[in-house]
Amino acid sequence: MRLEAKGIGFKYEKGPWLFRDVNFHVEAGEVVGITGASGRGKTTFCRILAGFERALEGEILLDGQKILPKGMHPVQLVLQHPEQAVNPRWKMRKVLEESGTFDENIQRLLGIEKEWLSRWPGELSGGELQRFCVARAISASPKFLIADEMTTMLDAITQAQIWQAVLETAKERNMGIIVVSHERKLMERLCDRIVEL
């Protein structure tokens, strides 16, 4: 399985090109880091890969095929701020069930406690919410996971907990991971290779 971006270009409305002719690929089971100065379009590029945004030039291919706009997207994105990624009017159990599956094994790996499932998002801390976002993204077995500053707001222990769970799941399912982070030491620890945007 190979996720490929070919000659991607993007700009917002009448603004200048944010980037053009970006080529990038990840293999199944590979962990690739993306770095670059802030404002260079790393997050936008991730959004294009995960199908939230359409590239103006170039194409995204999964095993040489275009990704169909139906069903679960095989590339899942986890963002920096979990507070903005969950519906504040849904209890946590419903948030998890949004992915269509309810994988207790992954919840256990991520340290999600049973009692949290009946809480509202506002009653959990950022670190606890982010575990739910990660569980929601990976329990439906996507082919690739994009972690866009996924653990930037979290303390070192929670960061290590979440990453150990993600790496273990990725290994088991041969899932590819794209890591966007400014923390060089974290990137060095996680990635097989690092590219600059």
């Binding site: 404002g39 340290g111 801390s125 670190g127 070192a156 960061q159 974290l186």
Partner: protein, 307 residues
């Protein structure tokens, strides 16, 4: 001399549950901390451990349903709420955690110039922007037109142009690239070296180590340890509290190994030591009462087993 001192600060929130049932949640208990002249004090700890609350209490910008007790001293004198409010923006500069603190309807250059009290505000703002690699066109932009990193650099600039004695920086660096982080940290160091002081709230222990003099470690609303930076080295043998050791070992540049469990909820805190449920050294005595802060090897610790 301590330029700013917080003594026995406790904060609780009053909340309404269902209907008119009221509930008081203690979010911070008996916290004491000192900020010395010429010093950078880094505050680290997990999210929800009360780091930002401390900053907000020091600036008197807690929400209305918060009740506080304890005292804050500035240059040796105890401060009332009114005096504290008068200090902020003049003697106390604040770099907030959220970029939402920027005024959405004002060009960012103007916002930065507002916090300068003496001298040529425009000149100061331009030189600070240059130092943080913000182009000339940025000063005319509105916050929604900035990337996350640019907005954060704008927040850093507001503190840099002010003539404050103390900077309280709440997570100023996440989402910034290495060059800008180094620049910001160097500015903090220079600021402190002019006999002023910086309180740097961060979870980037690596960054804290490069510039801070002391590190205070927060857990569940209290300080578990205050240690000189030199103690954060090797496998953490010199550290005092088991939580600090676990935090140190979990860093990606060290072992990257987590400990199980999560920080207890503020509405459901254990009776004894707050870290006891996750602690490898836990004994019967730990669950009876909260350990007191005691001096240990040039630092402070809140653990009965620490040596």
């Amino acid at each position: 001399m301590a330029i700013l001192e917080v003594k026995n600060l406790s904060i609780s929130f009053e909340q309404y549950r269902s209907g008119l049932k009221r509930e008081v949640i203690d979010v911070m208990s008996n916290l004491s901390i000192e900020l010395e002249e010429g010093e950078i004090l880094a505050i680290v700890g997990s999210s929800g451990s009360g780091k930002s609350l401390l900053a907000h209490a020091m600036l008197n910008i807690l929400p209305e349903n918060a009740k506080t007790s304890g005292q804050i001293f500035y240059e040796g004198k105890p401060l009332t709420d009114v005096e504290l409010t008068a200090l902020r923006g003049k003697e106390l500069a604040f770099i907030p955690q959220s970029v939402n603190f920027l005024d959405p309807l004002m060009q960012v250059g103007k916002q930065v110039r507002q916090s300068s009290r003496n001298g040529n505000a425009v000149e100061k703002q331009r030189s600070v922007f240059e130092c943080y690699h913000l182009g000339k066109e940025v000063e005319k932009l509105y916050p929604f037109q900035l990337s996350g990193g640019m907005a954060r650099r704008t927040l850093l600039s507001t503190a840099a142009v002010s003539d404050a004695k103390i900077i309280i920086a709440d997570e100023p660096t996440p989402g910034l690239d290495e060059v800008v982080i180094q620049e910001a940290l160097r500015n903090f160091r220079e600021f402190a070296d002019e006999n002023r002081a910086v309180m740097l709230i961060t979870h980037d222990i690596g960054a804290a180590l490069t510039i801070a003099d002391k590190i205070a470690v927060f857990y569940a609303g209290t300080v578990v340890e205050i240690a000189p930076v030199g103690d954060f080295s090797g496998k953490g043998e010199k550290l005092r509290h088991p939580y600090t050791k676990a935090l140190w070992r979990a860093l990606p540049q060290n072992e990257f190994t987590p400990i199980p469990g999560a920080q207890p909820h503020l509405s459901d805190l254990p009776k004894g030591c707050l870290f006891a449920p996750r602690c490898p050294l836990m004994t019967e005595a730990c669950t009876v009462e909260r350990p007191r802060v005691r001096e240990l090897r040039d630092g402070k610790v809140r653990c009965i087993h620490a040596t």
